[in-house]
C-alpha cells in the first residue's frame, strides 16, 4: 500500500497537549489508513501557519476559533476539519491568599502577564465582558519569573503546563481560572486545512481526522507510553512528570473529551457552537462583523463517533 506523505504543523514544541497525534504516529494508526505523517513542531516565534497557506504542509494545528475567523475575514480559503480540544485550556493563574481568589476580583489585580496573542484575543473579550483594562496587561514572554516575583500579579498559562512549573519551581499551588469556564467557549487545537486540499484529497483528511481521534483516545485512556516516548525524544527538555501532570489536567478539566465529544467522538464540532462563539466575539469587538461562518469549518469529517468503542473498551 502506497502511503501519502503529509505534514502536520503544530504550534508549540512537542508536549503532552500534542499527545494524541504522536500516539497515532507512534503506533501506526495514520499508516493504517494510508498516511505517512510528519509532525513539524512549532515554537514561540515559529509560524507554521504560513506554510499551510503556501501549501507546503497539509495540516496545521490552530489555536482557537478566532484564528479561523480572521482567515475567513481575509478571504483565505481555509477550514477547520476537527477540533481536538473542546475547551480552550488557557487559564489565568494568581498567587493564593493575595485576595485574588475569584474571577471578579481579577479585574482589580494590578498586573496581568498576557502574551501578544492572548492580548489580541481573549483579553479583548475579558475587557468587554468583565471590565478588565488594558493598563493591567504586561507582556508575557513565556517565562513565568516576573509573575513569581510579583505576588500581586496574574499570568496566562496552559492549564496543563504553567501551573506545573509554578508548583515545581515556585513551591506553591497557584489559584487557577480556566477562562473557558467563564464564557470563552471556543474550541481549541483545531485542525486547519486549505479548502483545495479538502476537495482534492478528502480521504486523506478523513484518515487524519479519524486516526487522530483514535490516537487521542488511546493516549488518554490507554497506554500513552509510545506517544510519550516520541515526545520525549523530540523534546529533550520535556519530562515524564510534566507529561503526567498534563494528561491528568486534560482529563480533569475535560479539555479533549467533554461536551459534544462524549457523544460524537473526539474532535467533534457543531455549527451552533461556533456561531454562538462568533456572536459573542462580535459583541466584544474582538472579531469583525459579517463573516460567513459556514466557510470556516466543515463537519464532513467529524461527529462520526470514531473512537467511542475503543474508549468504552479501554475504560471498561
Amino acid at each position: 500500500q502506497d502511503l501519502t506523505p503529509v505534514t502536520f504543523g503544530t504550534n508549540w514544541l512537542p508536549q503532552a497537549e500534542h499527545g494524541g497525534y504522536y500516539q497515532a504516529l507512534a503506533d501506526g494508526t495514520y499508516k493504517e489508513c494510508g498516511l505517512d505523517v510528519t509532525i513539524a513542531p512549532g515554537g514561540p516565534q515559529v509560524n507554521n501557519r504560513a506554510l499551510l497557506l503556501a501549501g507546503k504542509i497539509q495540516f496545521h494545528m490552530g489555536g482557537n476559533l478566532l484564528e479561523v475567523f480572521n482567515a475567513a475575514n481575509e478571504g483565505i480559503p481555509l477550514k477547520i476539519v476537527a477540533a481536538h480540544f473542546q475547551k480552550e485550556p488557557q487559564v489565568i493563574m494568581t498567587h493564593p491568599g493575595e485576595g485574588f481568589d475569584t474571577w471578579e476580583s481579577l479585574t482589580e489585580i494590578p498586573t496581568l502577564f498576557i502574551g501578544e496573542q492572548g492580548f489580541q484575543s481573549y483579553f479583548q473579550w475579558m475587557i468587554d465582558a468583565y471590565g478588565f483594562s488594558v493598563e493591567q496587561r504586561k507582556p508575557y514572554t513565556f517565562n513565568p519569573a516576573p509573575f513569581l516575583a510579583d505576588k500581586k500579579s496574574g499570568q496566562q498559562g496552559y492549564v496543563t503546563s504553567e501551573p506545573f512549573a509554578v508548583e515545581q519551581e515556585g513551591g506553591f499551588v497557584p489559584t487557577i481560572f480556566l477562562i473557558a469556564d467563564y464564557g470563552f467557549d471556543t474550541y481549541a487545537t483545531t485542525v486547519e486545512v486549505m479548502s483545495k486540499f479538502i476537495d482534492a484529497s478528502p480521504e486523506a483528511v478523513q484518515c487524519f481526522v479519524d486516526a487522530s481521534a483514535l490516537g487521542w483516545t488511546k493516549y488518554l485512556y490507554g497506554d500513552p507510553s509510545a506517544g510519550n516516548a516520541m515526545i520525549l525524544k523530540a523534546n529533550p527538555d520535556m519530562t515524564q512528570a510534566q507529561i503526567d501532570f498534563s494528561i491528568e489536567k486534560m482529563k480533569e478539566y475535560g479539555i479533549v473529551d467533554s461536551g459534544e465529544a462524549l457523544e460524537q467522538g473526539i474532535g467533534a464540532m457543531s455549527a451552533e457552537h461556533i456561531q454562538g462563539f462568533y456572536d459573542k466575539m462580535v459583541a466584544a469587538n474582538v472579531s469583525p462583523e459579517g463573516i460567513d461562518i459556514s466557510k470556516t469549518f466543515t463537519l464532513d469529517f467529524v461527529n462520526k463517533g470514531v473512537g467511542l468503542d475503543l474508549k468504552a473498551e479501554l475504560t471498561k
Partner: protein, 286 residues
C-alpha cells in the same frame, strides 16, 4: 578606479571637457539618487511579475501594488506606528552613540580598564534579549526604559568597537607630538584621538543606525508597545495574527524605507564631516 583615470587607457586630452571635474561631480550626484531608485524599481517590478506569473495569492505574498495601496489606505494606522518606531530608533541610536563613545573613551584610557570591561561589553552584546527580558521586566518598571534598554543593547556595540579601534589608530607621530607638548589626557582626546577616530566612529554609526531600528522593532516584539504608542512591530504581529498580510508587508516596507533613509542621512553627514581630509570621503577616490 573610474575608467577615465586608468593608466592603461588614457583618453585623448581633448575628450576631457566632457568629464571636467564639476560635470563629473554633478553626474555623480545624479547617479547617487537615480541608480538606487532604478534598481529598487527593477526589484519591485520583478516582485510584481513573480506574483502575477505564479498567481501567488495575496495572503502569501501580496503584489507591490497591493502593498502600496494598503500603505495609502491604512496610513492613519501605519504612520503613527512609524512615528513611534522612529522615535524609539532615534532615542536608542542617540543612547548608543553616547554610551558607545563614552565607553570607548573610558576603555582606551588604560589597558587595565580595557581588559576588565571589554569582556562585559561583549557579554552584553551577545546576550539574547528574549532570554533576559523577564529579568529586565522584574527590575525595571518604566516601560519606555525597558524598550530603550533592549534597543540599546542591540545597537551600541558597533559604535563601541569601531570607536575603540579608531582611538587606537591615531598616528603615532602625532601622539608623540601631543606627549611632547604636554597635552593633558582630555586635550589629547579632544584634539587628537577623537578626530582620528571619526572615520571609524562614523562607520560604526552607519552599522548601528540599522541596528537601532532592528532594536526598536525587536524590543517591541519582546516588551510590547513602547509607551510612545504602538510601533510597527505591534502592527506586524497584529497583521500576522489577523492574516492581514498586505498590511504586514506595508509595515515591513516602512521599516525598510526607514532603514535606508537612516543610512543615507548618516552617509551624507559622514561625507560632510570627513569632506576634505579623509581618504574614504574624497572625490575621485577610485
Amino acid at each position: 578606479m573610474s575608467e577615465d583615470y586608468s593608466v592603461a587607457h588614457i583618453p585623448r586630452e581633448g575628450a576631457r571637457g566632457l568629464w571636467s571635474a564639476p560635470r563629473r561631480k554633478a553626474l555623480d550626484r545624479a547617479l547617487r539618487t537615480i541608480l538606487p531608485i532604478l534598481v529598487i524599481s527593477g526589484l519591485v517590478y520583478l516582485w510584481d511579475w513573480t506574483v502575477k506569473a505564479n498567481e501567488i495569492p495575496p495572503y502569501i505574498l501580496p503584489s507591490p501594488g497591493l502593498v502600496l495601496k494598503t500603505l495609502v489606505d491604512e496610513r492613519a494606522l501605519l504612520l503613527p506606528s512609524l512615528a513611534t518606531t522612529l522615535a524609539v530608533t532615534l532615542a536608542a541610536l542617540a543612547l548608543a552613540v553616547i554610551g558607545g563613545v563614552f565607553l570607548a573613551v573610558v576603555l582606551t584610557q588604560s589597558r587595565v580598564i580595557e581588559y576588565s570591561i571589554f569582556p562585559i561589553a561583549v557579554v552584553v552584546q551577545v546576550t539574547p534579549i528574549v532570554a533576559v527580558f523577564p529579568l529586565i521586566n522584574i527590575y525595571i518598571d518604566n516601560h519606555l526604559a525597558k524598550i530603550l534598554l533592549c534597543a540599546w543593547i542591540i545597537a551600541f556595540f558597533p559604535i563601541l568597537s569601531n570607536t575603540t579601534l579608531g582611538l587606537m589608530s591615531a598616528d603615532r607621530n602625532l601622539r608623540d607630538l601631543y606627549r611632547l607638548y604636554g597635552a593633558s589626557r582630555w586635550q589629547t582626546l579632544r584634539h587628537l584621538l577623537l578626530p582620528a577616530a571619526l572615520p571609524y566612529f562614523l562607520g560604526g554609526l552607519r552599522i548601528s543606525g540599522g541596528l537601532a531600528l532592528v532594536g526598536a522593532v525587536v524590543a517591541e516584539f519582546v516588551a510590547g508597545t513602547s509607551g510612545f504608542g504602538s510601533g510597527l512591530a505591534t502592527r506586524i504581529i497584529e497583521a500576522g495574527y489577523q492574516l492581514k498580510i498586505p498590511r504586514l508587508f506595508a509595515a515591513l516596507a516602512l521599516i525598510s524605507a526607514t532603514g535606508v533613509a537612516i543610512y543615507v542621512i548618516l552617509s551624507i553627514v559622514s561625507n560632510r564631516i570627513l569632506g576634505r581630509w579623509h581618504e574614504s570621503a574624497m572625490e575621485g577616490r577610485r
